[in-house]
Amino acid sequence: MNRWLPQPLLSLCLWLVWLLLANSAAPGQILLGGMLAVALPLGTKRFWPDRPHVRRPLRLLVYFSVLLWDIVVANLTVARLILGPVRRLRPAFIRLPLDLTDEFAIVVLAHTLSLTPGTVSADLSIDRRTLLIHVLDLDDEAMLIARMKQRYEVPLKEIFAC
């Protein structure tokens, strides 16, 4: 298992992406996709020195569904802010102290924050402990940080077990 499928999750993603690209579920495509899903991770093994340790793949699905919903809400929020009086916006930088240690988990968190209401991640400190975030309309910094940690970081911590 581990020898031929060093990264089961990556293989699964590749296979699904291939089927989506081909836009069909014909046996030939399933087989071809499967071959690619095995060959590509094997060929690129060197580029993944420490693979992400996904402990709970199912929780990841839950996380992504929450995220999808939040993206829709984020769009509405930002649309309202853009169309409202621009001068009343209170843009600011805030620093989010990170509890995550896994690099991949931090990437997922930074992406999540960029896609959700009013925040864009802008920089990561050299020691990887702090994420610099730009907020479009800052109301209460402590509350925002608590919300981000509770909604995204805690589940990610569980999923990646770090």
């Binding site: 853009i82 169309l83 600011a92 896609l115 864009v120 991640s121």
Partner: protein
């Protein structure tokens, strides 16, 4: 009936893409402008893609799903480009995460 929904989603997508562009024009500086393309446009493209799925799915050639991939790639690349732009701006002004933050933003805190 299907055409009605297709048009509806096209309209929603168009409106959000428009709002994203308006944001680009209206917002005061580079960092606030980043918020437009990372968010409002994702729903814009999303709406148009749903319309595309409905339209081509309704033509009897089976389900059309590769639009989902466009969404996936958009969601993974939009934050990266925003991050790159933001980071370039920070480096150009000689600031980083280790300098000040707060309501005034980095630059104000630096000069005071």
């Amino acid at each position: 009936m299907l055409e009605l929904f297709t048009s509806l989603f096209l309209l929603i997508g168009g409106v959000f893409a428009l709002i994203g562009s308006i944001g680009l024009a209206r917002l005061p500086d580079l960092f606030t402008r980043l918020h437009g393309p990372t968010k409002a446009t994702t729903l814009g493209v999303g709406g148009i893609l749903i319309a595309s799925m409905l339209h081509f799915g309704g033509q009897g050639n089976g389900l059309s799903v590769h639009e989902l991939l466009v969404t996936l790639f958009l969601f993974t690349t939009a934050p990266v480009s925003a991050y790159l732009v933001a980071r370039t701006m920070l480096h150009l002004s000689g600031k980083s995460v280790d300098t000040g933050t707060g309501r005034q933003g980095i630059s104000d805190k630096e000069t005071s």
